[in-house]
């Protein structure tokens, strides 16, 4: 069994930095897998960068940027099996892409269009959680419930450093530990909660230290090292499957982009530090690693990037081609018998409004997510 006390202090790393810091060997990962990881990283990066552009063009609404968070998302998801469940926050909005969800679905979500709905059971990806930390108990419950049902499924919940201050994080983590739920608590410690720095969030020496209080292992990993993330998650998944309960993973990095499109970090952040962090960007870092290993050619890289770009082109086109949402959708899914229960309200609305037209993102100051 992994250590429970004390939590780790050192950040685990696999990817080195050329000559000065050698790469560490990672067992059981072949070339195909390495390239798959690269594909995931590039897909997420492309999604994110295109989304910021779409936002500027007024084609999607407020958007929570995840630039340089891709290594955590791709690395962690890669350690899961298909039957395992992912519980994303707004920061992992596009994580469904790694499970085959069309880009248009996620873009529709950010366009405020009901085509952004998905059935979690179709991808084993829960809905995007907007209220901070409140999905941690959901993930704990799902993991516990699967175990009770004798199904072999693990869950992972993604949340930020700020989320660790919420009561719901605490209650969810504790339930998971008590129920020995097969859960990975994955903390994206980007050291900021919008404008609030980590040292105004906690006095803990490390966030992984919180694991101790729940009696679970706490692991720290370099959040920009996709292989270290993968390895740490793989270990946690193995523990979970073996019935040994949850693990807390703290992935450390530094937010090098605005919190969201509406945010102007210049009023609170140290811009030099951001510049520095942007240099340590995770996709390029992995690409250099692959090239050191000799498993990525220029053509392959080109092709993978091209595929991702194409996915996004298709995605936005599809999202924009969605017909205007019908107002019946206001009522249809609130209850199992929504359409019946709200028949008179719908009839009145139809009488007054005729159809509906698609609404575009507003002018005026944008709303923070």
């Amino acid at each position: 069994m992994a250590q429970v006390f004390p939590a780790e202090r050192e950040l685990r790393r696999v990817i080195g930095a050329g000559h000065s810091v050698p790469d560490r060997a990672l067992e059981g990962v072949g070339e195909r897998e390495l390239l798959e990881l690269y594909r995931s990283l590039v897909l997420l990066r492309t999604y994110d960068e295109r989304s910021v552009v779409y936002h500027r063009q007024g084609r999607i609404g407020t958007y929570a940027i995840f630039w340089n968070h891709e290594a955590m998302q791709a690395g962690a998801v890669h350690a899961l099996e298909e039957q395992d469940w992912i519980f994303p926050s707004y920061r992992e909005s596009a994580i469904g892409l790694l499970r085959g969800m069309p880009a248009s679905t996620v873009l529709s979500w950010w366009r405020g269009h009901p085509a952004g709905w998905w059935n979690p059971a179709d991808y084993n990806v829960a809905s995007i959680c907007v209220p901070i930390g409140t999905h941690v108990p959901h993930a704990a419950g799902l993991a516990w419930g699967k175990r009770l049902a004798g199904e072999d499924a693990v869950a992972i919940a993604f949340f930020g450093d700020g989320a660790t201050s919420e009561g719901s994080f605490h209650e969810g983590a504790n339930f998971a530990a008590v129920m020995r739920a097969p859960l990975i608590l994955f903390c994206n410690n980007n050291q900021w909660a919008i404008s609030t720095p980590l040292d105004a969030q906690t006095r803990a020496e490390t966030l992984a230290d919180k694991a101790v209080g729940y009696g679970m292992p706490g692991v720290r990993v370099d959040g920009l090292d996709v292989l270290a993330v993968y390895e740490a998650t793989r270990e946690a998944v193995a523990r979970a499957r073996a019935g040994d309960g949850p693990t807390f993973i703290e992935a450390v990095h530094y937010r090098a982009a605005p919190h969201a499109t509406a945010d102007d970090p210049r009023v609170y952040i140290d811009l030099e530090r951001v510049e520095e962090e942007r240099q340590r960007e995770c996709v390029g870092r992995y690409e250099r690693y692959l090239r050191r290993l000799g498993v990525l050619s220029d053509e392959q890289a080109e092709q993978i990037r091209g595929e991702a770009a194409e996915t996004m082109r298709r995605g936005i086109a599809q999202a924009e081609a969605e017909p205007a949402a019908d107002v019946a959708l206001l009522f249809e899914h609130a209850y199992a018998d929504g359409r019946v229960a709200f028949a008179s309200e719908l009839a009145e609305l139809r009488r007054l409004t005729g159809g509906t037209e698609a609404v575009e993102p507003d002018e005026g100051p944008e709303v923070q997510v």
Binding site: A121, P137, G141, A143, G145, E171, F175, H333, A334
Partner: protein, 315 residues
């Protein structure tokens, strides 16, 4: 209650009971007594002391195919779970475009009058009723307590069942054996009458009955027991108002935005031509539920109901 839980756990092995002290101790009102022995600690789960955690994990349990029945130990101890209720329980089906169901039941002892320390006496139905995506039932008799709970557990949507503490203590009434389901959304005419309607639910129904008895010489009083606050049986309400033209609503909760306000608003919209006088509300006050030595003065009393009824009859 206990009976309903036994039946439902027996009938559907995806039903699971969870909460503080529901297992080993069988619940502080013994509602879950015997379940742990019968169905094991995995289907009658003693949880950590964390109400938001209980309801939050129940959301995840639904996603894993379970039908959790969550007990909150007392009305006022359900407040920590309001966040999960409002942000998730009532919205998750909608959020999945109807793709997933969240058939969670939340039950709790409810209301005052039991000489308890503070925060053991609240009537929080407004917080639940106002929340989209959630249904709410409040039984007034042991038989309805069993039947509505069964209906709640079988319902595909989240249902909050508030169980008047005075029922737990009430006189033993005959409760139908075996399966007994009282469908949600149907009120009950607890007493027929023609001059005036008392609309009530929960422990206030018994109070209304006593008030009606007190008025027997003066007026023929009808009593509508709402039973399901959401969805409301609007027809039954309007039918009685049309019949008597005089309505007094009795509610234990604080007045402002209490459920009585909703009932009165519906009458003001849809029964205005039937009404022969104002719609009166007899309610708890907009103050903290008091220490028990004066709780009887806080609660709607027979005197207050009779007084309101007389005012209306004389209007």
């Amino acid at each position: 209650m206990n009976d309903a839980l036994h039946v439902e756990l027996e009938r559907d092995d995806s039903v699971l009971v969870m909460g503080e002290d529901v297992g080993r101790a069988g619940g502080v009102f013994r509602a879950t007594a015997g379940l742990r022995d019968r169905f094991g600690p995995d289907r009658c789960v003693d949880t950590p002391l964390a109400e938001a955690g209980i309801l939050g994990t129940a959301v995840g349990l639904c996603m894993a195919g379970w039908r959790p029945v969550c007990e909150m130990q007392y009305d006022a101890f359900s407040y920590p779970c309001l966040d999960q209720l409002i942000t998730h329980v009532g919205r998750y089906r909608w959020r999945t475009g109807g793709g997933m169901e969240f058939p969670v039941t939340i039950r709790m002892p409810y209301g005052g009058g039991v000489r308890a320390p503070e925060l053991h006496d609240d009537s929080p139905e407004t917080y639940y009723v106002h929340t989209p995506g959630v249904k709410v039932a409040i039984p007034s008799t042991p038989a309805d307590a069993k039947g509505l709970l069964a209906a709640a557990i079988r319902d595909p949507d989240p249902v909050v069942v508030l169980e008047p503490k005075l029922i737990y203590r009430g006189v033993a009434e005959e409760v139908p054996e075996g399966e007994h389901v009282v469908p949600l959304g149907r009120a009950r005419v607890a007493r027929e009458g023609s001059d005036l309607t008392l609309v009530a639910y929960g422990a206030m129904v018994a109070l209304a009955e006593r008030a009606a008895a007190g008025l027997a010489d003066e007026a023929s009083v009808e009593i509508v027991d709402v039973r399901t606050l959401k969805p409301l049986d609007e027809e039954a309400l309007l039918a009685s108002a049309a019949k008597t033209g005089r309505v007094v609503i009795v509610q234990e909760a604080p007045r402002t935005c209490g459920y009585g306000a909703e009932l009165a608003a519906i009458l003001a919209e849809k029964a205005i031509l039937d009404l022969r006088g104002p719609v009166l509300r007899v309610t708890g006050y907009d103050v903290p539920y008091p220490y028990w030595q004066i709780e009887d003065a806080y609660m709607p009393s027979i005197d207050r109901v009779v007084d309101a009824a007389r005012k209306l009859l004389e209007f």
